[in-house]
C-alpha cells in the first residue's frame, strides 16, 4: 500500500513538472528540436536541471546505507546495441519531431480533453502493446 502512495505522489509531481516545463506544448518541443531554425533552449535547461538533480541522488542511492531499509537500488539491464536498438531510437525521434509529444507528456495532454491527444494516446498504447507482442514472439 505504501508503495502505491509513494508512486502516486511521484507520478503527480512528475506530471506537474512536465506541464510547467513546456514538455506538453508541442511548439516548445519542436522549437527545441529546431536547431537550424529559431532554436528554443528551454527544454535543454529542463533536461539539465532534472538530470543534474538525479545524478547526485543516484550516486548516494548506490552507496550502502543511503536508501531506507527494505529499498534496494534497481540496476537496469543495458540495452544491447544491435541495429534494432538504433532503428527503434530513430523511430521514436521521428515520431517525437512530427508531433512534439513523447509518452509522458502525451498522457498529461489527456487532461486538456482534446480529441488530438486522445487519438495520440490510443494509437501509442496500441503500438506499445503490439510491439511488445511482436518482440515476445520474434524478438
Amino acid at each position: 500500500m505504501k508503495k502505491h502512495v509513494w508512486a502516486f505522489l511521484a507520478g503527480a509531481l512528475f506530471a506537474g513538472g512536465l506541464s510547467l516545463s513546456g514538455m506538453t506544448r508541442p511548439e516548445k518541443v519542436k522549437g527545441f528540436l529546431d536547431f537550424f531554425g529559431s532554436w528554443d533552449p528551454t527544454l535543454l535547461i529542463v533536461l539539465a536541471v532534472a538530470v543534474g538533480l538525479y545524478i547526485p541522488a543516484v550516486v548516494l542511492a548506490r552507496r550502502s546505507g543511503w536508501l531506507p531499509s527494505g529499498v534496494t537500488f534497481v540496476e537496469l539491464e543495458p540495452e544491447k546495441l544491435t541495429p534494432r536498438f538504433f532503428v527503434g531510437s530513430a523511430m521514436f525521434g521521428i515520431g517525437w519531431g512530427m508531433v512534439g509529444l513523447c509518452p509522458g507528456p502525451a498522457l498529461v495532454s489527456l487532461g486538456g480533453l482534446g480529441a488530438d491527444a486522445a487519438l495520440f494516446c490510443a494509437a501509442m498504447l496500441a503500438s506499445i502493446y503490439l510491439t511488445d507482442t511482436g518482440l515476445r514472439r520474434w524478438g
Partner: protein, 135 residues
C-alpha cells in the same frame, strides 16, 4: 525571463524531484513507456506503476480543468500525422528499451552508455524531422 526560463527550471526540478522520490522510496527509475507496457500486460504485473500513472493522470485532469494554458487542446497536425507519430513513438520506445524519461532522464542520470546513445539519436532524428517537415 522568469516566464520562459524560471518556470522551466521549476518544472525541471519537479521532474528530477519526482525521479529522486521514486528512487528513494522504491529504488526504481521512472520510465513511462515501460510503465505503460507493464500496465497493458495487466494490473498484476504493473503493481505500483499503475499508481504512478494514475497520479500523473490526476494532475493532468486537474491542470486541464484549471485551463492553465500548459496543456493544449489541439496538436496542430493532420490526423494521419498524429496517428503515424504515435505509432512511431510507441513502437520506437519499446524497441529502444525506453523513452525520454527512462533513457534521457534516468538512464543518462546513471551514466548508462545505451541511454546516452538513445538520447543522442532521439534528438538527432527529431531535429532532422523538424528540419524536413517544419515546426
Amino acid at each position: 525571463m522568469f516566464e520562459q526560463y524560471g518556470v522551466a527550471v521549476l518544472g525541471g526540478l519537479m521532474i528530477g524531484g519526482a525521479a529522486v522520490l521514486l528512487l528513494f522510496t522504491l529504488g526504481y527509475p521512472v520510465g513511462i513507456s515501460g510503465f505503460l507496457s507493464k500496465a497493458l500486460a495487466g494490473p498484476r504485473k504493473a503493481g505500483w506503476r499503475l499508481s504512478f500513472l494514475v497520479g500523473m493522470l490526476a494532475v493532468a485532469f486537474a491542470m486541464g480543468s484549471m485551463r492553465s494554458g500548459y496543456l493544449v487542446s489541439e496538436l496542430g497536425e493532420a490526423r494521419w500525422e498524429i496517428l503515424l507519430a504515435a505509432i512511431l513513438v510507441g513502437a520506437g520506445a519499446r524497441i529502444a528499451g525506453g523513452c525520454t524519461s527512462g533513457h534521457s532522464l534516468c538512464g543518462m542520470g546513471r551514466f548508462d552508455v545505451d541511454s546516452i546513445l538513445a538520447t543522442a539519436i532521439f534528438i538527432a532524428s527529431g531535429a532532422a524531422t523538424v528540419l524536413a517537415l517544419g515546426v
